[in-house]
């Protein structure tokens, strides 16, 4: 009997100790650790300490503000986030935050066809090229979930990007020569064993982009990239899809890019009024978002002047897929103008073409982007 009492006392002590250490760990840990302003893992800014004002105290808004602050700054935040994502995964939730956990470590973003928006975007493009008197091309890239459909987990549901590509093909103006990158990408992946997409990011790899660029160049009657392009690699990369579903067991991608030392480039960031003498911002190789090393991210308008002597001037309308493809064009074009419609809202694209005497238009978009984006209206 005495033993029983002793034991239940000991058990109560252990249980209480569990609770006290649990609360103490997170309470003290949170209050004594320094606040972070940005989460590399989630790739988003974190909430910093709310300011106390009488108005907020009375309105009760402080409750929400402090809750957000504390859950963003909580001790061991990244560990807990990754623990939660892993628990969900092992409980069968292979679909989290719009991303499937696929086979071979692939994270695959689900595609939801929005036929109405897609058709609208194509009509904006058609309206734009109608009065254009220079050749126009479009490189249309499927995303990973299409090329890697065989890696989707059991019972996964996603819309068919080949169907979307078909819609684009049938509706796109005859003035635009469509280059569908699907065959190239699935070909290099299946037959050459080249990884066309990152496993943890929504972009294609440098190899995927270069292969597509080469085949497009050939189809356009130009020479493919030369052997002057050297592959630089050796960085671990956790991409945007990992940020959406950061499970502890996800292995990083290897990040690499092609650099051509034989051609000099000058990049003029038009809106920012700054000039750089490289296509790459190597500082991003030390940060989480390594894909932003191409040009340092997305900008409204850039003018790239190369030492290539073709005299050809190209305008690229693009999403972020183009960022890793554009460096493969520098041997063929002396000037490459790059416009991202997400940020290019105050000037007219046709003025850029006219004022700079551009002789060719290339659009580089992935299907998910044309399907979802709302900025093609700026072509009008």
């Amino acid at each position: 009997m005495d033993n029983d009492i002793k034991r239940s006392k000991a058990a109560a002590l252990i249980m209480s100790a569990v609770f006290i250490s649990f609360t103490a760990l997170f309470t003290l840990g949170t209050f004594f650790s320094k606040d972070r302003e940005f989460s590399e893992m989630e790739n988003r800014p974190l909430k910093t300490k709310p300011e106390l004002s009488g108005k907020e105290i009375l309105s009760g808004e402080l409750d929400d503000e402090f809750e957000e602050y504390m859950s963003d700054q909580i001790f061991l935040k990244d560990l807990m986030m990754s623990f939660k994502t892993s628990c969900d995964y092992f409980s069968g939730k292979t679909f989290q935050n719009g991303v499937y956990f696929g086979k071979d470590g692939y994270l695959l973003q689900r595609f939801d066809l929005d036929e109405q928006n897609l058709t609208k975007n194509i009509s904006y493009i058609n309206g734009f090229v109608q009065d254009l008197d220079i050749p126009a091309d479009m490189i249309l890239a499927p995303t990973s979930v299409c090329v890697n459909a065989d890696k989707l987990p059991a019972a996964a549901v996603t819309d068919d990007q080949r169907k979307a590509a078909g819609i684009i093909r049938s509706q796109l103006s005859e003035k635009v020569t469509l280059f569908d990158a699907y065959d190239t990408l699935s070909d290099i992946q299946k037959n050459d064993g080249i990884q066309a997409y990152f496993r943890t990011d929504h972009h294609w790899t440098a190899s995927g982009a270069r292969a597509v660029c080469d085949r497009w160049l050939i189809s356009a009657g130009l020479a493919p990239t030369s052997s002057a392009f050297k592959y630089k690699q050796g960085w671990d990369f956790y991409g945007t899809l990992y940020s959406k579903a950061p499970a502890g067991f996800v292995k990083p991608d290897g990040f690499g890019y092609f650099e051509n030392d034989a051609i000099d480039c000058e990049v003029n960031y038009v809106n920012e009024k700054s000039v750089k003498y490289s296509l790459f911002d190597e500082s991003f190789l030390e940060k989480k978002d390594k894909y932003a090393m191409y040009f340092g991210g997305n900008f409204a308008q850039m003018k790239i002047t190369t030492s290539a002597d073709s005299g050809k001037k190209l305008l690229v309308l693009k999403d972020s897929y183009a960022n890793s493809l554009i460096p493969c064009l520098i041997e063929q074009f002396s000037e490459i103008y790059v416009i991202d419609l997400r940020y290019f809202h105050f000037d007219k694209v046709s003025d850029v073409i006219e004022q700079n005497g551009i002789d060719r238009l290339l659009m580089v978009y992935n299907i998910d982007f044309i399907n979802e984006d709302k900025n093609f209206i700026w072509l009008e």
Binding site: F26, M80, K93
Partner: protein, 469 residues
Amino acid sequence: MVFSSMVFLFAYLPAVLAVYYIVPKRFKNLFLFIASLFFYAWGEPKYVWLMIASITAAYVTGLFADKEKYGKKKALIATVAAVVWNIALLLYFKYSDFFVINANSLFSMQMKLPGLALPIGISFYSFQSLSYVIDVYRGEVKPQRNFITLGTYVALFPQLIAGPIVRYKDIETQLQTRTTDIIKFASGVKRFAVGLAKKAILANGIYALFEEISNAPQSALSVGAVWLSAAAFTFQIYFDFSGYSDMAIGLGKMLGFEFLENFDHPYISRSVTEFWRRWHISLSSWFRDYVYIPLGGNRKGKARQCLNIMIVWFLTGFWHGANWNFALWGVYFGVLLIVEKFLLKKTLDKLPKAVTHIYALFIIVIGWGIFAYEDSAALAANFKNMFGLGGLALWNEQTTMWLVQYLPMLVILVIGSTPVITQLGRMLNEKCQKLYQLALEPAAAALMLFASAAYLSSGAFNPFMYFRF
């Protein structure tokens, strides 16, 4: 403030517990009272005065409801005053929009909506104060002369915003003389950890499925998916609500209180009658003791009993929110209870267990279908879909995906709805007591606490369900 929040878990609770255990006994109630007011004011700064007013009203009317001291007449007046005060408070703050909307549409008037934000927990603390005054009038308890003690009872933060509805007579002595010890504290920890995990992991987790299906376009749905969403809601509301009650009971124990149980595995019921003995026990027993029995209960003939049942269940439904669907939900159960009592009881007793389980669950799930949709068009559309009148396919690929993604969780929820886990714990405690008490239980509690914190801090879905109550 809600329990399933970072601010509560890692700022408020540790501070309150630390101070509570340090302050001398005679100041413990005062401290709890102030801490509870802070707890309430954190999210509802405007309405903390309303609660203090309500406590004052209960204090004064309670004093005068003492028949022995003031005579029957005065005591009755005081009690009636308390009833009027609490009912008026509820009518004004909770139901005025509802009445204005309905009066406007009924008489085609254009009255302006009062548009008052509902003070959180008002339905709980009004019922608590009311039961106190009535019990004083009935002579079941002595009036509380210490304002702080009564304030502590009404505002006590563990049960303040989501119940259970604790009766004054149940904790009268505990308010004066309660003890805290390590064994009580530890059992409070266990209970709190279970409740927190039920809320933060299971209820929030399955509610994500309900939301996903509810937000899906009609074209993506199937009959199967709609039933899946009904199941999701059924589990969500039970694990959420009973999780809150577990946390309240656990916190109570940590502070030295013993509250009565509020849920007793309602989904293993074999009849509607049984379900209401197991679901939100503190609410149904409140209505039984303060409405049904005073109305005459079953002592005035069958017709009167039926009427009484209907009144009680209409009110029970309406208590859950100022909308017709909640009233309908109550009436639905009132009718079924009458049917069971007078027609079905004997049949149900004879039927095989499996059949009665399916019968009760079907009634319960349909009930939640009424409860879940405040918008009558959405409510009707959901039932049409459930019974194949919405033009939906029986099943589709998306439904398979939902089922596959949530199957393990659904299995856990089914097991968690039965007493199996409690029984397993008891068995382990008998077979290998040392291992169970010294290692398994603490490890399970640690895991539940950590996982809950991980789920809550990861910005997962965390709704508060009781803002309508």
